[in-house]
C-alpha cells in the first residue's frame, strides 16, 4: 500500500479519522507536504486544524489513517516521541522553561552528558551555533529564557526543534503575540527554514500571512479537507467561501441606525474627551501601545489613578467598575483568558456573574434561572457548546467572545465597551460578532451604544459610525466613517 519512492513527500497524512465520543472531529483528512514547502492550513475554529496537528505531534492517536515521514510509516506515541522522529511544534502559547537558561532550554530532554555530568561546554557552543545559524547569534545562551522578549523566546523554540533534528515544523498562529517588526523577521526566518529543506506547516487566521508565506494551502471544514490549492491561484473570497461553506455576502452588515441621546461623556485628564450616543458604534484606532486600551480602561475605571468622573446618561459619577455595571455600562476585556473570563467556571456562571441579582431570589442564586437565561443567549448568538454548564474555557475563542458579550447584555448594559472583540477568532465568528454589534445598535426598541478598540482598520471602517485615532495617549476627534478612510486614519494614528 505504501511504496516509498524517490519523490516521497516529506510528510503525508492519509485519511485521518478521529472521533471524540459521538462527535466526529476529523472525518478523513489527507495532507501531503514536500520538503522545502511552506504549506498553510486554514479553516474556522472547530474545523479540525488543532485536532489534526495534535495527531501529527503525537498528542492524540488517530482512530484510523496512516502517516508517513519521508516515506517511512510514522506513528508517534506521544509529543516527545513525535519530536524525536522529526516533527516539531511551535505553538501560539510558547513553551519554554522560564527559569532555565537559553542553552538549557534548547537542549531540554536531549542534554549531552560527559560521564555523569552535563556537558555544558557542548550545550553552550552548539546552542550558540544554532542561534547564529538562525541569525540570532546575539542572544545570550546563559540568560534565563524567561528574561527574553516573546519573539526571542520563539527563536529559542525554533532552535530547540532544529537541535532535535526536526524536519517538519508546525507553526500554530505564531504571530499573534508579536510586534510588526518581529513578524517580518519571523517570516524571513520561515523562508530560510524552507530553503534549508524543512517542511513547514503554517496555521493562521490571517490570509495576508498565508499569502506572504505559503506556496500551497489546504482548507479544512467540519473535519474534512475541502480542497488543496496553489496559494497564488485562489482569491481571498474563494478561500473564505470554502472555509465557511457558503458565500459571505456582507461581512459588515449595517442596518438602519437611529441616533439617540448622549449616553456617555468621558473626559479623561491628559487623554482626551469622547461622547457616545445611543444607536452608534464609535471606534478607537491607533498603533499598539498608543493608549487605546488604556483610554477604554480609564473610562471603565480600571486604570490606576481612577478618580476621574464620567457622565453616564446625564449623571456625573466616579469611573469605577461596580458603579458602571449599576449604570449599565460593561466592558469586554481584550484579554479573554487572563482577565475577561473565569475559564474554569461554566458558561452560565460567566454570563450571569455581573447580574447575579437578576437570577437570585432573596439573595440565593437560582442555578436553574441562570441556566435558562444563558440558554437564551446561546441560541440567540449561536454559541457552539454542549450546554450552559460546560466550562467556558473549553469553547473556541469566538464562542468565548460571544459569551463575553452576552454577559454585558444579561446585565442589561446600554453601553458596551469592547476591546479587540475579534482578536484571534475565526472569520465566521467574526462575521457573527459584527452582526451582533449591528443588531444591538440598530435595535428598534432599545438601541445600545458601542465603543470599540481594534487594531484592524477594515473592521473599524466596516462596523463603526465614527472613528477616533489615538496617538501617544491622546484621543483625537471622532470622524464619521463616510468622511474618512484607512489612509487618513493611519495618518492620524501615526501623526504623519
Amino acid at each position: 500500500m505504501s511504496q516509498p519512492s524517490s519523490d516521497a513527500a516529506r510528510l503525508e497524512m492519509r485519511d485521518i479519522r478521529k472521533a471524540f465520543g459521538a462527535q466526529i472531529a476529523l472525518g478523513g483528512v489527507s495532507l501531503k507536504i514536500h520538503a522545502g514547502e511552506v504549506h498553510a492550513l486554514v479553516g474556522e475554529n472547530g474545523a479540525g486544524k488543532s485536532t489534526l496537528m495534535k495527531i501529527l505531534s503525537g498528542a492524540y492517536q488517530p482512530d484510523s489513517g496512516t502517516m508517513f515521514v519521508d516515506g517511512q510509516p510514522y506513528a508517534p506515541a506521544n509529543p516527545a516521541d513525535g519530536r524525536q522522529r522529526g516533527v516539531g511544534m511551535i505553538y501560539q502559547e510558547l513553551s519554554i522553561a522560564p527559569h532555565l537558561s537559553v542553552a538549557e532550554n534548547i537542549w531540554l530532554g536531549i542534554e549531552p552528558q560527559k560521564g555523569l555530568v552535563l556537558d555544558r561546554t557542548k550545550m553552550r557552543t552548539e546552542a550558540q551555533a544554532t542561534l547564529a545559524g538562525l541569525g540570532h547569534g546575539t542572544i545570550d545562551v546563559d540568560q534565563p529564557a524567561g528574561q527574553l522578549s516573546v519573539s526571542h523566546q520563539q527563536i529559542v523554540e525554533i532552535a530547540r526543534a532544529l537541535s532535535m533534528g526536526c524536519k517538519i515544523i508546525v507553526f500554530d498562529e505564531p504571530t499573534s503575540s508579536l510586534a510588526q517588526a518581529d513578524v517580518q523577521r519571523l517570516f524571513d526566518l520561515i523562508d530560510q527554514l524552507s530553503r534549508r529543506g524543512l517542511a513547514i506547516i503554517y496555521i493562521s487566521h490571517f490570509l495576508e500571512e498565508v499569502r506572504r508565506l505559503s506556496s500551497r494551502l489546504t482548507i479544512l471544514r467540519d473535519g474534512q479537507s475541502v480542497a488543496c490549492h496553489v496559494t497564488s491561484a485562489i482569491t481571498d473570497d474563494a478561500i473564505v467561501a470554502e472555509m465557511v461553506g457558503r458565500e459571505v455576502k456582507d461581512l459588515y452588515p449595517r442596518s438602519q441606525r437611529q441616533l439617540g441621546e448622549i449616553l456617555l461623556e468621558a473626559t479623561i485628564p491628559q487623554r482626551g474627551t469622547l461622547t457616545l450616543r445611543r444607536g452608534e458604534v464609535v471606534g478607537l484606532c491607533g498603533l499598539v501601545g498608543a493608549g487605546r486600551t488604556e483610554f477604554l480602561r480609564a473610562v471603565f475605571g480600571l486604570e490606576e489613578n481612577t478618580s476621574q468622573k464620567i457622565t453616564i446618561a446625564g449623571h456625573s459619577q466616579l469611573a469605577e467598575p461596580r458603579n458602571n455595571w449599576l449604570h449599565r455600562m460593561g466592558l469586554v476585556s481584550e484579554n479573554r483568558k487572563e482577565e475577561g473570563l473565569a475559564l474554569e467556571l461554566s458558561i452560565a456562571d460567566n454570563v450571569c456573574l455581573p447580574a447575579l441579582k437578576k437570577v437570585a431570589k432573596l439573595g440565593f442564586v437560582s442555578p436553574a434561572t441562570c441556566e435558562a437565561h444563558t440558554v437564551e443567549w446561546i441560541d440567540k448568538f449561536g454559541i457552539r457548546c454542549q450546554g450552559p454548564n460546560q466550562a467556558i474555557g473549553r469553547l473556541s475563542g469566538g464562542n468565548q467572545q460571544k459569551a463575553a458579550i452576552a454577559r454585558l447584555l444579561e446585565a442589561d448594559c446600554d453601553i458596551l465597551l469592547l476591546d479587540e472583540p475579534t482578536r484571534g477568532i475565526d472569520i465566521a465568528a467574526k462575521a457573527k460578532i459584527y452582526e451582533i454589534i449591528d443588531q444591538l445598535v440598530a435595535d428598534p426598541i432599545r438601541p445600545r451604544a458601542v465603543l470599540m478598540v481594534s487594531s484592524y482598520l477594515p473592521e473599524l471602517l466596516g462596523v463603526c459610525d465614527r472613528i477616533a485615532a489615538v496617538r501617544r495617549g491622546q484621543v483625537g476627534e471622532a470622524t464619521p466613517v463616510a468622511q474618512t478612510n484607512s489612509e487618513k486614519l493611519m495618518r492620524a494614528a501615526t501623526g504623519v
Binding site: A80, I96, A97, G109
Partner: protein, 322 residues
C-alpha cells in the same frame, strides 16, 4: 556587558540570604550577649541547625520541582523512632543507617505515587500524610520516647566535641550537612537529573513535551526528600539521645521557611541548596540569640515570623526589580 550585570545579579541573589545571616548574627553579637560568638555558641547553633538543615536539603529538591511536603516533620519523627529502635537492639551502625534511610525513601515514594499516579495535589496529600506518619510513629513507639543514649556511634555526630577533636571546630554532623549540601548542589547544577528537576518546576508541560520523564522525576524528588528526612531523624536522635514520636513537631514550617528564605520560589523553578542551609542558619541564629538574651518565647516567635515574612517580601521586590 549584559553578562556582567546578570552575573552580578546572580551573585547578589546568592549572597542576599548570607548578608542577612551575617547582619542578624552581628546585631545579636554587637547589642546582646556575646556568647553567640563563642565556640560553645557556634557549636550550639550548628547542633540545632543540622536537623532542620538536612531536612531542608531534601525539601529544596521538592520545592524546585514545584512540589511541597508538609509531612516532613512527621517523617523525621517516625524515622527517629525507627532509627532509635534499631540502634537499641544492637544492630550495626550500617544496618541502622541503611534501613532508616530506606524507610525515609519509602515514605517519599508513597507520597510521590499519590502525587503522580493518583494525581493528588501535594499540599493536601502531605497534609494527610502529616497525620498518618505521626500516627505510625506514636504507634510504633507506644507513645513513649525511645532512649538511645547508649548508641555512642549515633551520639557522636551531634555531641559536643571532645577536647581531642576540637580541631573539627563544629560537630561532625555539621560537616556531614555541608558535604551533603555540596553534593546535592552539584547534582542539581551539573547533572541531567538536576536540570530536569528545574525544568519540571519551571514549566511542567514544556518538560513533558521535550521528553522529560516528568512523573519519574517527581517520584525521585519525593524519595530524595524522604531520605533526607530520615537522615534528619537520625540526627535528631543523635542530638536528643532518643527517638521521640512527638518530636520534630512544626519542623515542616521551619524547613519550608528555610528553603524559601534561601531564595526558592514556592511556584517552582527556583531554589538553591546553599541558600536553604543559610535560611536554616538564620532561623537558628534568631532562636539562639533570643534565648541567650533572655527574650521570652512569645517575642521569639513573633520575631521569627516577622523575619520570614520580611524575607519573602524582600525577595519579591528583588525579583520585580530584576
Amino acid at each position: 556587558m549584559k553578562t556582567t550585570t546578570s552575573f552580578t545579579a546572580k551573585a547578589l541573589n546568592a549572597l542576599g540570604p548570607l548578608l542577612a545571616l551575617i547582619l542578624i548574627w552581628g546585631l545579636f553579637y554587637s547589642f546582646g550577649n556575646q556568647a553567640i560568638g563563642s565556640s560553645e555558641g557556634i557549636e550550639s547553633i550548628v547542633q540545632q541547625t543540622v536537623v532542620i538543615g538536612i531536612g531542608a536539603i531534601g525539601m529544596t529538591f521538592i520545592i524546585i520541582s514545584a512540589g511541597i511536603d508538609l509531612s516532613i516533620g512527621s517523617a523525621i519523627a517516625l524515622c527517629s523512632v525507627i532509627g532509635a529502635k534499631l540502634a537499641v537492639s544492637d544492630n550495626s551502625p550500617a544496618i541502622v543507617t541503611l534501613v532508616t534511610l530506606l524507610a525515609g525513601a519509602a515514605i517519599g515514594l508513597a507520597i510521590g505515587l499519590l502525587v503522580v499516579r493518583a494525581k493528588l495535589i501535594p499540599f493536601i496529600t502531605t497534609l494527610g500524610t502529616l497525620l498518618i506518619l505521626r500516627g505510625i510513629a506514636l504507634g510504633l513507639a507506644h507513645s513513649q520516647p525511645i532512649n538511645a543514649q547508649e548508641a555512642n556511634w549515633l551520639r557522636f555526630w551531634l555531641n559536643s566535641l571532645p577536647e581531642n577533636m576540637r580541631w573539627l571546630i563544629i560537630p561532625p554532623g555539621g560537616w556531614l550537612m555541608i558535604i551533603l549540601a555540596a553534593l546535592a548542589a552539584g547534582v542539581l547544577r551539573f547533572t541531567v537529573f538536576g536540570r530536569h528537576v528545574f525544568a519540571v518546576g519551571s514549566n511542567e508541560q514544556t518538560a513533558r513535551l521535550c521528553g522529560v520523564a516528568v512523573d519519574r522525576i517527581k517520584l525521585y524528588v519525593y524519595m530524595i526528600g524522604g531520605a533526607f528526612a530520615a537522615l534528619s531523624g537520625l540526627m535528631l536522635v543523635s542530638y536528643q539521645g532518643q527517638g521521640d514520636p512527638t518530636g520534630a513537631t512544626g519542623y515542616e514550617l521551619d524547613i519550608i521557611a528555610a528553603v524559601v528564605i534561601g531564595g526558592a520560589s514556592l511556584s517552582g523553578g527556583v531554589g538553591s541548596v546553599f541558600g536553604s542551609l543559610i535560611g536554616a542558619l538564620i532561623m537558628t541564629v534568631i532562636r539562639t540569640g533570643c534565648t541567650l538574651n533572655g527574650i521570652d518565647e512569645s517575642t521569639t516567635r513573633i520575631i521569627t515570623g516577622t523575619i520570614i515574612v520580611a524575607a519573602v517580601a524582600i525577595d519579591r521586590l528583588r525579583r520585580k526589580a530584576a
